[in-house]
Symmetry: C2
Subunit: 227 residues, 2 copies
Amino acid sequence: MNLRAIKAVTETQTRILDAAEDLFMQHGFEGASMRMLTAQAGVNLAAVNYHFGSKDALIEAVFRRRLDAMNTERIAELERLEKDAAGKALSPEAIIRAFIGASLRMIEDTRGGGRTFTRLLGRAYTEPAKPIRQLIGQMYATAMERFKAAFVRALPELPKDELVWRLHFMFGTLAYTLAATDTVQLIAGAKPEDRYDARVLEDRLAAFMSAGLLAPLAGTVNVRIAA
Amino acid sequence: MNLRAIKAVTETQTRILDAAEDLFMQHGFEGASMRMLTAQAGVNLAAVNYHFGSKDALIEAVFRRRLDAMNTERIAELERLEKDAAGKALSPEAIIRAFIGASLRMIEDTRGGGRTFTRLLGRAYTEPAKPIRQLIGQMYATAMERFKAAFVRALPELPKDELVWRLHFMFGTLAYTLAATDTVQLIAGAKPEDRYDARVLEDRLAAFMSAGLLAPLAGTVNVRIAA
DNA sequence: GCGGATTTCAAACGAACGTTTGAATGATAG
DNA sequence: CTATCATTCAAACGTTCGTTTGAAATCCGC
């Protein structure tokens, strides 16, 4: 098999993955059928089973194509920050930005399908099907451990269980923002045009999340200066 | 039709609704089949179509059974607060608590299926099927308008578009928290026992959300005293 | 340009889907 | 008790699902 053959293979696989990404996002994993999917990709019905083995394996491949790279990027960014800090503590907001940056930058990629993937990803977090949740969980495991440790170092005074809850809330905020559809907006009035500006969105998300993460502990009085 | 007949009717309908709530939560709307559903409810396969008309109508009924009451409760709580304040401005946190309280209290109802419903609800926010999103959106519309107006009054200095984004983030935080499964936790270490204590959870969520809502505007320097 | 491997294709598989049907069963009012 | 209605039931409807098959087409090293 030479280069041209590899190109052809990946070409078919890529078209299937692109169509799957789009249709899974629009109709869900069960709602998007193999016939829809192969029709949109312009390939034969049997191609999915030939190249990926099964529909479930295709779902996994759709996530793996982008998610592994995304989490690797997250960790790399975090390690860059830690190296630059040279032993000094990182600010919580910097860690937050390292985590959300990779996924937000993907939002801007409306041509390459990155935007589609982020919406699919946002939905997958609350996916009922157990195998998919397990898949996502295992793909996030390493990055999650790494970031949790970073937050513990940055916020040594924050009780562990409180931190875990706040990370949970932050993750929800991000997940929902990624999943948000432009067709339905529960809160009317949002300007859709800056929804895709990753820089603005990152600033807004980082401000919201940092404030939430650093919120005074319930039941305590706490004077704090935020800049 | 006398009382006993009515009882029998609602009894069958209730069993179907309970089973649907549970199975939709576990397997999604497409993943839960009529045969699964009627088997779990202990009723005949045709009962759903007889009593509700179709599977789609059943889905709507599942939401309507609890969601209408929940949003009515939210609005009532908000109006009670406004009446008590007698013209004075409400604190953002009080408004937040009025909004999240109803759904969090439902979490504690593990016997009556309230907990199941909140998880289903959390997932429905990111449901790909358009009719379901529309249904949810329209069921929330009134309450959403009401609360948005309350926040505008409570935070007159906060730019409208910034407010809309922060409401969006807050909604995501709540949605994800409601949807959270105990089977998979991306952030290890959470103690599952206090996950169902609505009071503790409300305190934690309210602290996080208020801080996020009141976060200093990006690009500005802002000294703030949080109590 | 031939031979072996890879990929595509149309067709069909059995299983499961939501829904409909018409008869059987139950309860109610006169 | 009987006529009438609402409800339940087993069975079947046509459709669509994911997957498999074996032959045709394409590609590539030699």
